[in-house]
Symmetry: C2
Subunit: 453 residues, 2 copies
């Protein structure tokens, strides 16, 4: 009933809400290079105050600020909602049809870095609360929100924030609003996230670049890195480091049941079409492809650079080479332990000269399908979108969910309102007016459904 | 006797000659991206006219111009001298102590891209001729010079120029002035050059960059390229493509004799010190290291690029990756035939999706140690530098020498006046006043010595 009132309100003020979203999208907040972070955080704080939150800016050392907001209610229940206001770097710029921080609307899409991942999610929560305020309604639950500014660089300081403000963050369950809709427009729920170990490997073989005629004598750092990398991963994707799979505990029986309920053919066909891919790695198909996507630890090359990469011919023997690797981990692999295994592996294979710098650690997480918050979010999803939500026992993506499950001891569901195939982390990321305003309703409905349990 | 007169002249006008060299160094001429080529060619033409040459600018299609100059003499002998006015790209710019096209003098060095390779060589020839003119001397030989503007991109159009102007280029021998001094300041003579096959390999696995959470399903082009590269070359540097060594004819007996006369310990120690390298590839030392340097075909990674290579963390699965490879070839490997072998290899190993683009072909060359021009250049080197020249049966570097030996049928020696360890192709390339002015004498003496034979 309250939801119907909110829907009516959105038909009147939805355009204003979209304008506020665009203002946030126009403000860069690239955590990888510290661009626009504070300005974006202050903008959100102001929107939150205006919506009815009591807001605090938390700041630990020189970490990006966390924006913390509370709204009290007469309910005995407290829900913690998480989001992030930082975004990925927009490069390669030349592939965007409009600049990444102008929020140009074209063909029904609002195109911007962060449009899907995850500023529309953050603004949906804020505008849900604002809608209750405007209508004079009490919130259905006590709400605590935590918006961080370092998710896209792996939430390096969130553990400290969580530790420091542990007592303030007491709640009955957590919802992390940082997801979206599947290719058929059904909301996706994730009951766990992959972990991450992000490293940079660097090899330097000489003090200065050399003429490539010296290649018979001076070792080439790119070749050396390639030899080291080749020893890490077989062409089918499996990781060749000793002990890498020792702590893998998934999929459990309850996970397999959920996987069987997922419309994976639509998901897989959508991926193939979107990326213009004929065939998946190792030719995997159907439910096996889905299981791989959800439960396979990976070693991905996110970047490789050495030598002359411009146009035309240059005959140089580079002095150094580096590679950025993201290892996705599954429950219950430990990134700190695996970093040691990786270092041991390189040493054992004769690559002790290759420098390993760890840039990010995230532990994997898991929430049981029977947890009440799972049922509440699923009901809200059905109510708002009129479609059966897709409940995934695990996400292929990573995030700081373990802080909510392992550190705060909460059951936690990841979901959100990003549109299907939204180009997250890629050029021409977008959302739509409808996706965003449905997101406002979805956030409202989650609170309603959880209050009723 | 004439040489003593020239030396006296240099003590008076050497400073002016250096200023002219600096003017040429300040003019970029980067063939890899077509920057400043015509301006540099016109500047040299004017210096040549002023020196006493009859000059023509040759132009074939949209190739960079060749500057051709002649000076007649009463001698029955004709010497063809070759040089190049184009330079390598200066990147990485941040490693230069002064900008690459400002020719700043610091600690006795004139720092500029092209200072050693090869504008000081080109200007040494021009200033040698100018010195004869100023002194009113007849040149000791008929001189033909050919300065090309595409050496650093592998002389792609020089074959056409040579074919087209074959009759104009008739001569008794060739001297290619594009070398320099060894670490002890001894002139180096090269009686052959390695050939080159330069290719770019590209792999594309999706139409757009993807979030790296899709790594279990979408193939990573950098991984795929690494697998292909790993199949091409063993860690000791040997090339694993079928038939790669079939046409290798060196070292011959005459080559080994020359190698034994070279002060390789100084050369190798100098290399190690300059590049801060403890150990050569595969731990090779002494004469074996020199033989490898001169006679080993190589497969060098000149550049590798994929994905996000900026600061910090980005979790992307790149849509494409590319690598630039320069294969150095030795007498009598054929780059066109080997390109076919490379393509067959990739196909046979299952990498038919990897695109191969050949960017450069150079055949290897060879001049016998007994050729008269070898004796003439060696005598000139001894006379000017007062040190025993180092005569190499082959160079580790590549160039269009095969056009002089194979196409024009001339014996050909490569030498020049670049200072020791001059950072050719690397940041902070330099020459010195003394190196350059000695180069003017060396060019003069070569003509004198050849005229006497």
């Amino acid at each position: 009933m309250k939801l119907a009132e909110i829907e009516k309100l959105l038909s009147k003020v939805g355009g204003d809400y979209v304008e506020d979203l665009k203002a946030v999208l126009k403000q860069p907040s690239i955590s990888a290079r510290g661009e626009g972070i504070d300005a974006c955080a202050h903008m959100l704080r102001d929107f939150m105050k205006n919506a009815g939150f009591s807001v605090e800016m938390w700041k630990v050392g020189d970490a990006n600020p966390v924006i913390y907001g509370e709204v009290r209610s007469s309910s005995p229940k407290t829900l913690l909602m998480y989001g992030h206001y930082d975004v990925q770097p927009p490069e390669p710029l030349e592939e965007w049809t409009s600049p990444p921080f102008e929020a140009v609307e074209s063909d029904g899409r609002i195109i911007a870095r962060g449009a899907a991942d995850s500023k529309s999610n953050v603004m949906a929560i804020i505008k849900a609360v604002e809608s209750y305020s405007r209508l004079g309604f009490d919130l259905p639950v006590n709400l605590k929100v935590l918006f961080e500014g370092e998710e896209e660089i792996g939430s390096p300081n969130l553990p400290r924030y969580i530790e420091m403000y542990r007592s303030r963050l007491k709640a009955d369950a957590a919802v992390c609003f940082d997801g979206g809709l599947d290719p058929k427009g059904r909301p996706e729920l994730w009951l766990g996230l992959k972990g991450m170990l992000y490293v940079e490997l660097r090899c330097k073989t000489a003090s200065v670049d050399a003429h490539s005629s010296l290649a018979p004598l001076i070792d080439n750092p790119a070749w050396r890195l390639i030899q080291a990398l080749f020893s890490l991963r077989s062409p089918d994707g499996s990781i060749l480091v000793d002990g890498w799979y020792d702590d893998v505990r998934v999929p459990m029986e309850e996970d397999i049941k959920l996987v069987e309920g997922i419309d994976y053919e639509t998901l897989l066909t959508g991926l193939k079409k979107h990326f213009k891919v004929d065939r998946f790695l190792s030719g995997v198909e159907g439910i096996d492809a889905l299981k791989k996507l959800l439960f396979q630890p990976t070693c991905n090359i996110a970047g490789f650079n050495s030598g002359y990469t411009g146009l035309g011919v240059k005959t140089v023997l580079p002095k150094e080479a580096y590679v950025k690797l993201d290892f996705r981990l599954v429950y219950d692999q430990n990134p700190y332990r695996l970093l040691e295994n990786l270092k041991k592996h390189l040493k054992a294979k004769g690559f002790e000269d290759i420098e390993v710098e760890a840039l990010n650690f995230l532990e994997p997480s898991k929430t049981p399908p029977s947890a009440p918050i799972v049922g509440a979010v699923a009901s809200a999803a059905s109510e708002v979108y009129g479609l059966k939500p897709q409940i995934y026992p695990n996400s292929p993506g990573s995030g700081p969910d373990y802080l909510f499950t392992k550190r705060l001891g909460l059951n936690s569901v990841w979901t959100g309102c990003a549109p299907p195939l939204s180009n997250a982390h890629a050029p021409n990321e977008y959302t739509t007016r409808e996706s965003f305003l449905k997101g406002v309703l979805f956030a409202s409905s989650i609170m309603e459904c959880y209050s009723r349990l």
